[in-house]
Symmetry: C2
Subunit: 332 residues, 2 copies
């Protein structure tokens, strides 16, 4: 025990020393603060917000974008996989919409090049919202308030999926989470994180986690194989291979953001764990070939919890009512 405490004290002083030297060089850190979302067309953001919460974009009139990317719960649904039309269970864990604007592409396999392209997917996916773009638009067209909004924002009398997804994507671009404690530290506030959290960050870098989880979103900016060093147990989800058909893309996924990670359990594309400690342990093993000690895992997790930022402040939208001409929801 004495040995352990001596080692611990030594490590701690090393970390504190490291912390001091870092203070002068944080601009060079591989993780960058989340910028505020500013300069957006407010009317477009408001329209996009309504559409994001709009259950009438689904066949049943029950499922909205927010059903699976719930802004109350870290921009995800905290389920192993999402519940879609007629209670179909999705094939993969729903990624958070928060900070998704920083992703190099959308979906785990990156099959959508941006948020606009992504937004078109679930509306027409038979296992998700199960509508069609035509039906969704024919609903919006019969609602005067929507027609007027599209007219005034896009100058068009004809609503198309193009404007619908543009508005949703614009709203989603505003869904950033600045001013996490870690970002405050990055910006120079020494007291924003404590010694253990800082130690966790240093371990995160030393062990190599940082090689994929870096940048503004602490991830989201590269595709990587799940199972670089040690094969992962899920060999059925092929990831980016489905998009490119390249053998080298088998089991390759977009690296998920670690921003707000404490809010978005369960973890991994297959939601195989709800425990962040276990997720960190497995990642180190499969991706880095490193067997982390339990105290290292704990410190890294303490660091990860400092990545929770200010959640978007959303005034819950009031949606305009349907008219007698509006196509009716179909629950079956």
């Amino acid at each position: 025990m004495t040995k352990f405490y001596l080692l611990f004290a030594l490590s701690l002083s090393l970390f504190l020393f490291a912390g001091e030297t870092l203070a002068v060089s944080r601009a060079g850190e591989p993780i960058k603060p989340v910028p505020e979302a500013t300069g957006y067309d407010e009317a477009k953001v408001e329209l996009g917000k309504k559409l994001f919460f709009e259950p009438r974009l689904s066949k049943s009139g029950f499922i909205s974008c927010n059903s699976c990317h719930n802004l109350s719960t870290g921009g995800a649904d905290n389920l192993p996989s999402s519940i879609g039309h007629k209670w179909q269970l999705g094939p993969i864990n729903s990624p958070t919409v928060l900070n998704s604007r920083f992703n190099l592409a959308q979906f785990w396999d990156g099959r959508a090049k941006d948020l606009k392209e992504q937004a078109a997917g679930p509306i027409a996916n038979p296992g998700e919202m199960a509508s069609t773009h035509e039906l969704a638009i024919s609903i919006l067209e019969t609602i005067p308030e929507y027609r007027n909004s599209f007219k005034s924002i896009y100058g068009t009398d004809v609503i198309s999926i193009n404007e619908v997804t543009d508005a949703i994507a614009t709203f989603e671009e505003t869904l950033v989470t600045p001013n996490s404690r870690f970002d405050l530290w990055l910006k120079g506030d020494d007291k924003a994180i404590n010694a253990n959290e800082l130690a966790g960050y240093l371990l995160f870098k030393q062990k190599g986690c940082i090689s994929c989880h870096n940048g503004v979103a602490v991830g989201g900016n590269s595709f990587q194989k799940f199972g670089v060093v040690k094969e992962y147990k899920d060999t059925e989800t092929l990831g980016r291979f489905n998009v490119t058909q390249k053998e080298s893309d088998r089991y390759v996924f977009k690296v998920p953001t670690l921003r707000n990670i404490e809010l978005t359990a369960p973890y991994f594309h297959d939601a195989s764990t709800w425990d962040l400690n276990k997720a960190v342990t497995e990642m180190a093993e499969h991706q880095l070939g490193v067997k982390l000690l339990s105290y290292e895992v704990k410190k890294i997790v303490l660091f990860l919890r400092t990545l929770t930022g200010e959640q978007p402040k959303i005034t819950y939208p009031v949606l305009p009512p349907s008219t007698v001409d509006t196509p009716k929801p179909d629950r079956m």
Copy 2:
């Protein structure tokens, strides 16, 4: 045609005359303005709001109170009946939560005496949220932020369904919609409604609709048989009979509020129409034995649309994350 116009001009002048006399006596109108919700314990309302939007109160972790009483869409779900656990379809149209505090009892059949009693129902209803009170509480107990809130608001270390439903009911009590155009008119603003809308209100009184739809909520304050004069087609939904087992309560329902009625299609307990004109026509026929003329229906509907009030301004809650000890959602 000349005769018609003469009659119309005569009626109009009568209405205008009636309008003038009303101006001095609106305090005596059978409909009363919706009061603002004030004086509530803010911390309790905030906790109640979180619980109202809390999907972890359901077995699946997907359904919250707001799923069926959506505050984006008039406090209801705009579906014939609600979608519950595993996509079970409910037996009856979901009533609005807005202004529900003014109801003499809750549910269509009044089986819950107040909002607190009501809130306990859907959580444990196998066709709705499909949880149990025990499970819901064991989830809340493992989340420190919830534990602390209950402790600070109710002074208890032990969360029970009693505090959970008290907080939800308190939040729901704040969900009122004051300052509708009609209420402004009631309070003396002559220009808040136009001549046709006023004519609609006078018809609403003259034809007898007012005998059941009166008071603050324009309904909600009595139980009445659906089919007083002419039997209604739905003979399977027994209404209040299920609560009292009295033959005289067969097909008796709580009179629904007409506040925000334009937001809460489809109409009637069986959602048999999406068209407010048709709903008014049928009501007059079944309840009053009156065959309304088409222009009368139109005017009454114009009046009904003036009952849409200010919708509650809700800041979408950020829910505290689960911990490793939190029971996991079960979608099956």
